[in-house]
Symmetry: C2
């Protein structure tokens, strides 16, 4: 559904949010270790997120990546759009360029509903919300991450 790059991005941002209170910058090594993603590839993705303003960063010793309060409010939808684009969010289920409400493909209606469901889910979940939900739950990420 989502590309690896996008999944890594989301996981990384949730991790950053979970450490937001510490007021500490996290380096790539820590991020990729905790999030279980290849280090140099993760660096590239963090770079992209940084360039687009989804995360903040600082170079040099004690530098690294971190989230500002506002950035932690980012929805999954925004991240998906930024990393994977909108194809998965609004494209035809059968890949037909000319598919539309007026000229629907055979699965247009039903697929639109599924897609809408997916969109809603992404839009209704913020990074900070997911990070907080992990506290006190037995979430997978909680075991991988060190909260």
């Amino acid at each position: 559904m989502l590309s690896n790059a996008c999944k890594y991005a989301i996981r990384a941002m949730i991790y950053l949010a979970s450490r937001q209170s510490e007021d500490v910058k996290v380096n790539i090594r820590d991020i990729s270790a905790e999030v279980d993603s290849p280090e140099p590839f993760t660096a590239k993705i963090m770079q992209a997120l940084s360039k687009q303003g989804f995360v903040s960063s600082l170079k040099g010793p004690t530098g690294g990546f971190y989230l500002e309060t506002k950035q932690a409010e980012t929805t999954l939808l925004e991240i998906v759009k930024a990393i994977d684009g909108t194809q998965v969010l609004d494209g035809c289920g059968l890949g037909l360029k000319t598919c539309s409400d007026a000229h629907p493909c055979p699965i247009h209606q039903e697929y639109s509903h599924v897609r809408q469901h997916f969109n809603d889910m992404l839009e209704n979940n913020t990074i900070i919300g997911l990070a907080q939900a992990m506290h006190g739950s037995n979430s997978v990420l909680k075991n991988i991450l060190t909260i």
Copy 2:
């Protein structure tokens, strides 16, 4: 959501179903022209569908691909499983290997619902059903295909 290969496969099978009544075998040239897919790539995909019993074929002049009555009853779910595998149907939304009901990732619940919705849609639609629904509608495929 689905790979190109899978979309081509579904479109091709709908096309075959739409010509099923003619009791005619359709060659690759016709299929890829009507379905708007690259010819040699489509040939590969049809080969795979044939090898797995989703379509029938006959070599030689007047040969080509066709559907038997039972094959037209194939659901989209079966095709997706055969071409794309089950990852998109049951994999974790964030790509975590250890995600499960017992140890859910932060979006586990909501993502499971979306996925289930997608699964249901695929399972409730047969190739023949979609082909028939196109008759008398203004479906996109109907304009591309020659029914």
